[in-house]
């Protein structure tokens, strides 16, 4: 093998190696860029999804604000509401001719099954129809409430006494 042939052979081998190196580099670079593009597309898709969800939630919040406020109004916001409640009930009983006294006013802490609430025990007496109507009115309070117990007994002829325990739920907004 002549010197010239050896030189050509060596130059050819070097050229092939350099070309292969460049091709390998380009190949790996394209793969890396492809993976990066896929990740960016995934992030962009997630972002778009979150934006759409956010817009939908905002729209839902705006559209339902009135009915949510109406629902929220059926709860005591704090213990102060119970004072207003008592005052109005006592005023109502007084104006209607019932003798009413508030026997108990307690705050019942929340448990696993029951929300925090105000427990009120009313004892009232008066004419039968009035006592019965008042009892039914207490069952129909426009609050998230429940009547736990109601005892009615006749005192004298048309005079009845009622003892009613009612729970009104507190839900701070």
């Amino acid at each position: 093998m002549s010197t010239k042939t050896r030189k050509i052979l060596i130059i050819s081998i070097i050229s092939v190696l350099v070309t292969m190196g460049f091709l390998g580099y380009f190949f790996s670079e394209i793969r890396a860029q492809g993976q990066l593009l896929e990740e960016q597309i995934n992030i962009l898709t997630d972002n778009n999804s979150k934006q759409a969800t956010n817009a939908r939630v905002k729209r839902e919040v705006l559209e339902t604000s009135s009915e949510r406020e109406q629902l929220a109004s059926s709860f005591f916001k704090d213990e102060g509401d119970s004072i207003v409640f008592l005052t109005e009930i006592e005023e109502l009983a007084k104006n209607s001719g019932l003798k009413l006294r508030t026997e108990t006013l307690d705050k019942v802490p929340a448990s696993d099954t029951v929300l925090e609430s105000i427990k009120v025990v009313f004892v009232y007496d008066g004419p039968k129809s009035l006592v019965f109507n008042f009892s039914e009115l207490m069952e129909s309070l426009p609050y998230h409430s429940r009547v736990e117990s109601l005892n009615l007994r006749q005192i004298v002829d048309n005079n009845w006494e009622g003892r009613l325990t009612v729970f009104v739920t507190i839900k701070s907004s």
Binding site: G34, V57, I89, L92, N133, S140, L141
Partner: protein, 160 residues
């Protein structure tokens, strides 16, 4: 007929010393080398083209406009809210009627019950004594002391 010496001479011609030749065909064979290089290049070209096309098709149809709302329908329960609002409205109406009755304004009209609202939120327990549903308004004991109009009843925390 070929003799042993003839074979030996041929083999020596192949594997023996190449004295007298212009170049060694084992090291450099123009036709073979050209064919090999062109064939290998063609293979590389086809493989590269195939790979380029596959990469192009993989990323040419990429779209980021697709939106998947995974939380659709998981939040606000409109049916439950409507049911609760319906029951609340009925309680308000019943309350106002009873209040007017108690204060002697008008005869109490029972509110028709709606089974849907009852089924969704039964928050009242049964009482020990059933209450009359209709009462005469001219009861002597029902004193109309302070008439209250229905317009002042609003379902807020200051409801009463």
């Amino acid at each position: 007929m070929m003799s042993f010496n003839h074979f030996k001479k041929k083999l020596l011609g192949i594997f023996g010393k190449r004295e007298g030749l212009l170049f060694d065909k084992d090291i450099m064979h123009p036709a073979r080398d050209w064919f090999f290089v062109i064939f290998a290049g063609l293979i590389f070209l086809l493989a590269g083209g195939f790979w380029s096309v596959s990469v192009y098709t993989q990323f040419s149809n990429v779209s980021v406009t697709e939106v998947s709302e995974t939380t659709e329908g998981g939040g606000y329960q409109q049916g439950l809210v409507n049911s609760a609002l319906l029951e609340l409205d009925q309680r308000i109406l019943k309350y106002n009627n009873l209040k007017s009755t108690i204060l002697g304004n008008k005869k109490y009209v029972p509110v028709p019950e709606v089974s849907e609202a009852e089924a969704s939120e039964p928050d009242e327990e049964a009482v020990e004594v059933p209450v009359e549903e209709e009462v005469e308004t001219n009861d002597e004991s029902a004193t109309p002391a302070t008439p209250v109009s229905e317009s002042e009843i609003v379902p807020t925390s200051d409801f009463f």
